[in-house]
């Protein structure tokens, strides 16, 4: 086989692998296979080398490709390569490679030798062999020696079984007795870069840096390309990762649940003599039955395992994709803790727990900083200043509102109700849906009031995450129709003082779904409602399910 033929065949096989071979080129290969006795061996050799190459890079090969200028091939290089193609020297190759023939040594004559055995040497040999047997027996019986495999990187309220003193920075080893986490949550990182979050009560140990046994408890694993092949074993199953994020719950009663958040994994299930397996894909959830090891599909639950913690802020993330601004207005952290009907008095900037005795207020100019919650910068009554209304506590940003009467009802609060002299307290609605409930939280902002959230401080509470959107349904509660026939209000949304939404909505208009992108640079989000046309009464304005969409920083 000559060099030109090698080049041609290599090129054709490569095109087969790249799925771009023409019919004519495929026929050329078919003919070669049929006529050249060495062709099949050559083909196998090419494919073995190719497989070794892609296997070596297979972990990185899952990355979304992007042309990295630092690592890319510059144009000048390709020009040189193109020229080189035209004038490349002949490479002499002999095929197949001839292995040197081993020369046989024949008819060797050896003189018989009489050996005397030294007693010391003999006893040393016996002792050495005996010691070797003891060592082998020790290794065989005691199992593989433990070695360090992972590091505790963070924890919240973690407690361990009594004889353990494990804290952030401590290294864990393989092949130890099972470790019991009796309380709290811990973050571990294996030496292969696999991030694991464990939630108590849990019992686990590492077989190696690539395998953890979970006797019971909740575990989340984020496996990068480097750690692909990482596995989690429970008493009746094993999940082998293929580059992914997944959660495993090993229940004390023996059932195992696996939740696939990203990527793929193989699930092997075994009980006594029965074994089954399944390829798991993102968005699926399965359970391995403890009795017969059947693999059953179950509903996916995004927030069933903890996926990220930060002890500096006591932040625990279970995969929630939103922060509730209503919860923040109610005094919570955006996920929980916000009290219904709690809110901010725009006259003082102070928090109040419910509507005061005086509901109808006369507003005063001036921005009121809210000191009680770092995520809320302040509140204000828009349209009272001569020209611009300040909307941040540092005075750096002011926006123009139409002149308003400055009167308002109530306060800005987490919830959705109205109550007046002739209006009994009742829940507000948009599109027939009652708001101010755990399923449908809301911020009530009767005209003329406004509130500014500090996105930078919100980001500090969710380290490792970024904010991508503000979403909310806005409108006037249709319950006003029983009390007023013609009411409307103007809704405003600003990002760092830039108006991103403004609309006048009436009691007969359909509510509007807002979906406003937020960049990492945005600091302040301002929501405001003003009267439209100097009539401020019955402006029962709602921001329904006001949320910040969040996701992990990649």
């Amino acid at each position: 086989m000559n060099k030109q033929l090698y080049r041609e065949i290599d090129n054709l096989i490569l095109k087969v692998l790249e799925n771009c071979i023409s019919d004519q080129e495929l026929s050329r290969l078919d003919d070669w296979f049929a006529t050249d006795p060495h062709s099949m061996d050559y083909y196998c050799e090419f494919m073995k080398n190719y497989t070794a190459l892609i296997t070596k890079f297979s972990d990185e090969a899952r990355m979304v490709h992007q042309m990295d200028q630092e690592e890319g091939v510059n144009t000048k290089l390709w020009q040189e390569l193109a020229e080189e193609e035209k004038s490349s020297p002949t490479i002499e190759v002999s095929y197949p490679v001839q292995l040197p023939e081993s020369s046989l040594i024949r008819n060797v004559q050896k003189d018989p030798t009489v050996r005397s055995i030294n007693k010391f040497s003999l006893s040393l040999a016996i002792t050495t062999i005996a010691a070797l047997f003891v060592m082998i027996a020790y290794v065989y019986l005691s199992g593989p020696a433990p070695y360090e495999v992972a590091t505790i990187s963070d924890s919240i309220n973690a407690r361990w079984s009594s004889d353990l003193n494990i804290k952030p920075g401590v290294r864990l080893s393989s092949n130890t007795k099972p470790i019991q986490l009796t309380q709290g949550i811990v973050n571990l990182v294996t030496d292969d870069g696999v991030k694991i979050v464990l939630e108590a009560p849990a019992e686990f140990n590492f077989a190696s840096y690539a395998e953890v046994g979970l006797n019971y408890g909740k575990l989340f694993a984020h496996v990068s390309e480097q750690g692909a092949g990482f596995s989690v074993s429970t008493p009746n199953s094993k999940v082998v990762d293929l580059g992914t994020e997944f959660g495993v719950i090993s229940q004390i009663d023996g059932n195992t649940e696996v939740y696939m958040y990203e990527g793929r994994a193989n699930l092997f299930a075994r009980q006594n003599t029965k074994s089954t397996s399944m390829l798991l894909t993102a968005g699926s959830a399965n359970k391995v039955d403890r009795i017969n090891s059947n693999i059953l599909q179950i509903p996916m639950q995004e927030d069933i395992v903890v996926r990220h913690i930060d002890s500096k802020t006591n932040f625990i993330w279970r995969g929630q994709s939103n922060i509730s601004l209503a919860d923040i207005v109610g005094g919570g952290n955006g996920f929980e803790g916000g009290k219904l009907n709690a809110g901010i008095d725009v006259a003082t900037g102070k928090t109040i727990s419910d509507l005061g005795t005086e509901a109808v207020m006369v507003g005063s100019a001036g921005y009121k900083a809210v000191g009680s919650h770092a995520c809320i910068d302040g509140v204000f009554v828009p349209g009272l200043e001569e020209k611009m209304t300040p909307i941040t506590s540092d005075g750096s940003i002011a926006v123009e509102f139409p002149k308003t009467a400055g009167n308002y009802w109530g306060y800005i609060f987490n919830g959705a109700f109205h109550q007046g002299e002739n209006v009994p307290r009742h829940a507000l609605q948009l599109n027939g849906v009652v708001y101010g409930t755990p399923e449908n939280p809301a911020i009530s902002i009767h005209s003329n009031q406004g509130i500014t959230f500090d996105l930078a401080n919100i980001r500090k509470t969710i380290p490792g995450m970024n904010i991508t959107k503000f979403r909310s349904l806005v409108g006037i509660s249709e319950t006003v129709n029983s009390y007023a026939t013609d009411t409307n209000a103007e809704f405003w949304v600003f990002l760092d003082g830039n108006k991103v939404y403004e609309a006048t909505l009436s009691n007969t208009d359909e509510p509007v779904q807002l979906d406003i992108p937020i960049s990492a640079k945005n600091r302040f989000l301002t929501l405001a409602v003003t009267e439209a046309g100097y009539a401020w009464g019955y402006d029962w304005a709602l921001f329904g399910r006001p949320e910040l969409t969040i996701g992990p920083t990649k």
Partner: protein, 172 residues
């Protein structure tokens, strides 16, 4: 995990590379090979009770892979560009013997990649580490795909020669 399961995974890990090599020879498509490897592994796991300890695990694994790949080729005969059927029938046995030196090749490849010049290493990394399609590379640098194919196959040829020499030394 019990002893038998540990044994399976230990045996499977030792033949994983050879199995993938065999399947790639048969179906010459990376994505299909990975899927077929998973299916083969699943069948092996489900039928591990039938495997007789002490017999050739690798041969048993490849026999399952042979059936899966031939099944795949039959199912895709009309939709994919494939060689003649006789080729695969013969290849299914030749490839079994051929795949036995896979692990030595992996070792040899590591050294051989280092011997490539820097630019060729970059090209290999672009295509196989970063998974940049050849079409995208050609668009980026305004060169025809045919030139890239020729150059890439030339690099693979250099690696082939280097690996052969390395294997020869290993056998001495």
């Amino acid at each position: 995990m019990d002893n038998k399961s540990s044994k399976f995974f230990s045996l499977y890990t030792s033949v994983h590379g050879r199995l993938l090599s065999y399947i790639m020879m048969m179906v010459h498509n990376q994505a299909a090979s990975e899927d077929l490897l998973q299916e083969t592994a699943s069948i092996m796991w489900e039928n591990f009770d039938q495997f007789q300890e002490g017999t050739n695990f690798s041969a048993w694994a490849i026999s399952i892979a042979r059936n899966k790949t031939l099944e795949y080729l039959r199912a895709n005969r009309k939709t994919k560009k494939l060689f003649k059927s006789e080729f695969y029938e013969k290849l299914s046995y030749v490839a079994e013997d051929s795949s036995s030196d896979y692990s030595q090749r992996v070792k040899a490849l590591d050294d051989c990649l280092k011997k490539l010049n820097k630019n060729d290493q970059k090209i290999i990394a672009l295509r196989y580490k970063r998974n940049v399609p050849i079409k995208d590379i050609s668009l980026q640098i305004s060169r025809p795909m045919s030139t890239l194919y020729l150059h890439l196959s030339k690099i693979l040829g250099l690696l082939r020669i280097c690996i052969l020499r390395s294997l020869s030394k290993q056998e001495l």
